[in-house]
């Protein structure tokens, strides 16, 4: 099993998968904020990358590869300036966050595709 894990690099793959999961969660959080840009009293939410990563890695060393998206939480942004209607969504910031999340996702996807290509290369005996 160690040999297979060495080739497929389970830890790296699960880390990349986690990055994609978090990027998708941030994308969804920002999409929700954008949808509510004109809802009175709506408070913008955000997925904190560092907190989420810590929460997932800290559970147990053996869980590194088994962590799923259940640990991804969206929380209201504290201390944000509200408009007169109590809404804390900033339109351009949310679009920026979406672009950034798309970049993160794309980067992880590219790395993951490269990993899978290596595995396929090994399976096909280098052909």
């Amino acid at each position: 099993m160690a040999g297979i894990n060495g080739i497929s690099d389970g830890d790296v793959i699960s880390a990349l998968r986690r990055q994609m999961t978090i990027a998708a969660a941030r994308q969804a959080a920002s999409a929700g904020n954008l949808a509510n840009v004109d809802t009175p009293g709506y408070k913008a939410v955000d997925v904190s990358f560092a907190d989420t990563l810590d929460a997932q890695v800290a559970t147990h060393p053996a869980h590194l590869g088994g962590a799923t998206q259940t640990g991804v939480h969206a929380e209201e942004i504290q201390g944000a300036d509200a408009r007169r209607d109590g809404n804390t969504v900033v339109l351009d910031q949310e679009l920026l966050k979406m672009s950034r999340a798309a970049g993160d996702f794309s980067a992880a996807q590219t790395a993951l595709a490269a990993k899978f290509r290596l595995v396929r290369y090994a399976i096909n005996e280098g052909r």
Binding site: R26, Q27, A29, N33, A35, D38, T70, L95, Q109
Partner: protein, 143 residues
């Protein structure tokens, strides 16, 4: 993937809510001079009330990352006073020669319409970004 599906349905709900706002603003502008409506008095301007609507209440209940959609809670009728204009020749003028006109302010409606159009554009941009993400994820399955 369900996260991204939620995000798309949240953005889609916003598109329809913003379109309702534009429709209401347009009908307010169209009726800016309507001195008679079905109940006999001049037209009263309408306002859209938006409220957030969890796209996936199951995820939201557990505090999981899930996009929050938006929906039109109600369309309320503005009860503020009518404008009055001196125009004795108008068929709806009162004894003093004043006509009661709808409580519609053109500039207010324009600002509302621009705001709604901007929000519509932003949500459209969000949908296309999420769609790119899904397409990118599906590329992993290609050999």
């Amino acid at each position: 993937m369900s996260t991204l599906n939620n995000a798309i349905s949240a953005s889609a709900s916003a598109l329809s809510a913003e379109r309702t706002r534009i429709e209401v603003a347009v009908s307010n502008m169209a009726n800016a001079e309507s001195t008679r409506s079905a109940n006999g008095e001049p037209y009263r301007r309408r306002d859209v009330v938006l409220t957030s609507d969890p796209a996936n209440s199951f995820d939201a209940a557990f505090g999981h990352a899930s996009a929050t959609g938006v929906k039109v809670a109600s369309v309320v009728v503005d009860q503020s006073d009518f404008q009055r204009r001196y125009e004795p020749s108008h068929p709806d003028a009162d004894a003093d020669g004043f006509v009661a006109l709808p409580n519609v302010d053109q500039s207010e409606e324009m600002v509302d319409m621009i705001g709604a159009a901007r929000a519509y554009q932003a949500n459209l941009a969000a949908i296309s970004m999420i769609r790119d993400l899904v397409a990118k994820a599906l590329e992993l399955g290609r050999s």
